[in-house]
Amino acid sequence: MRIYNAPSIIAGLLVLIGLLTFPFWYNAGDVVAAPEPSLDTPVLQGLQDKQCIEPTPYMRSKHMELLRHWRDEVVRKGKAIYVASDGREYEMSLQGTCLDCHSNTDQFCGRCHDYAGVEPGCWTCHLQPEENVP
């Protein structure tokens, strides 16, 4: 078997395979653990029942939908109270409700957001809890 222009062909193939397998060698040898959002805040320490307003799997995948729903309810319909699926009532407020417990935004929000490479625009309008502001 003869390969014509072998040096160019092999160099081209190496570049091609190198680019296409970038994620394999970029992470080679790494053991990547899933992010663990920290629940270590003064308010959460004092809680008996550490249950978020909705079950955790729902909050993990759909918290943004919930916040969007809250935005519509508060800003567009003038409602202030959210009734959770288990009947408990909360004030619909990112700063007043969510961040009251999750005051450690860098260790709670940030860990998953950095891991997944997303950067929500919350802090362009809302105030980040003081302990996180550099």
Binding site: Y4, I17, T21, N27, A34, R60, S61, M64
Partner: protein
């Protein structure tokens, strides 16, 4: 006909993934085994085709020349459209791959008042360019799932591409552009009779497949939310060769992943191989230097030649007698 076959093929693939994951619980098959098999088939297929092409000899220079060849010093040469060196040929291939320059010459032949006329036609170039660049940006953006930490250029691309926000979340410009471009590339095949006539299932199927992949991705981003952290755990498991199947990722993700796996496996044996083929097109990548360099056909067998010197040695005396001039006495 080709449209219906391709459409049903893609719908069947979606159904297979949905039934497999939502009803039969085959997350391991669709989340780990298929992606690995598809990636292996993709890489092996690309290498196989490149090697196969490289085994064909290229005895002569056959570039398509689209400009003035390098000639006398006072004639202005067009180095990109008629490259004389390997460097300018490489520049030509690069411009072809990045900007599709040859498509810029696309014209539409028409009968106008009984005579043949060539019209300006740049829409295919524009649609093709927008489609390919969007696809590249989308693929690079997806590196956020396959790298930890996420490299800076991926985040930069996210910020540039995600300049627009809608409903409190990022709306990627490339997501919109790729939908429009693929729709255009499809409609073009349906609407223009000549193009429709030469379109085959192999033309429609990749279009429907890529459209379905884009739609399932956009659905996931905006309408049917999945647990993105779990998705990245699965992706990182794949690229670090320690596969895991996290709980609670929706079926829509597995549909997306299965369609991508099918695309990867299908890629090398289809027209999509032009991704590497473009770099090995002899009409593009050869410098036009036939008049400056001697190119020897590699399969030439040794030919017994009788040179003039030998001829003269053989017939010198007879030539002298016949008064034919000879070079050596």
């Amino acid at each position: 006909m080709g449209i219906r076959v391709s459409l049903f093929a893609v719908l069947a693939l979606i159904l297979v993934a949905y039934v497999g994951v939502a009803l039969l619980g085959l997350e391991l098959l669709f989340g780990v085994i298929m992606p690995y098999a598809a990636m292996a088939a993709f890489l092996a297929g690309l290498v196989y085709h490149v090697i196969k092409w490289a085994r064909s000899p290229v005895p002569f220079r056959i570039p398509t020349t689209c400009g003035q060849q390098r000639a006398l010093p006072w004639i202005k040469a067009s180095e990109v459209d008629n490259p004389s060196t390997a460097v300018s040929a490489a520049a030509r291939v690069a411009l072809e791959a990045l900007l599709f320059r040859s498509l810029l010459r696309n014209t539409k032949a028409e009968l106008a008042d009984g005579s043949l006329a060539y019209r300006w036609e740049k829409w295919l170039w524009l649609g093709g360019l927008l489609f390919h660049w969007s696809l590249l940006v989308i693929v690079l953006r997806h590196l956020r799932f396959f790298t930890e930490p996420v490299p800076g250029f991926v985040n930069l691309l996210r910020d540039l591409d995600g300049f627009l926000h809608v409903n409190l979340q990022v709306l990627y410009i490339t997501d919109i552009v790729i939908l429009l471009a693929v729709t255009y590339l499809f409609l073009r095949r349906v609407v223009i009779p000549q193009v429709r006539y030469i379109s085959l299932p192999g033309d429609y199927f990749p279009l429907f497949l890529i459209l379905s992949i884009a739609l399932s991705g956009i659905l996931m981003a905006h309408f049917i939310r999945v647990d993105v952290v779990a998705v990245k755990e699965l992706a990182m498991g794949l690229v670090t060769f320690s596969p895991t199947v996290p709980e609670g990722i929706g079926a829509i993700f597995y549909i997306h992943l299965f369609l991508v796996s099918v695309l990867l496996a299908y890629f090398p044996s289809s027209k999509l191989i032009h991704m590497v083929g473009i770099f090995l097109s002899p009409t593009r990548n050869l410098p036009n230097d036939s008049r400056r360099r001697r190119h020897v056909n590699p399969w030439n067998y040794p030919v017994d030649v009788h040179t003039y010197e030998e001829y003269e040695d053989e017939f010198r005396e007879k030539m002298k007698k016949a008064d034919i001039p000879v070079e050596r006495y």
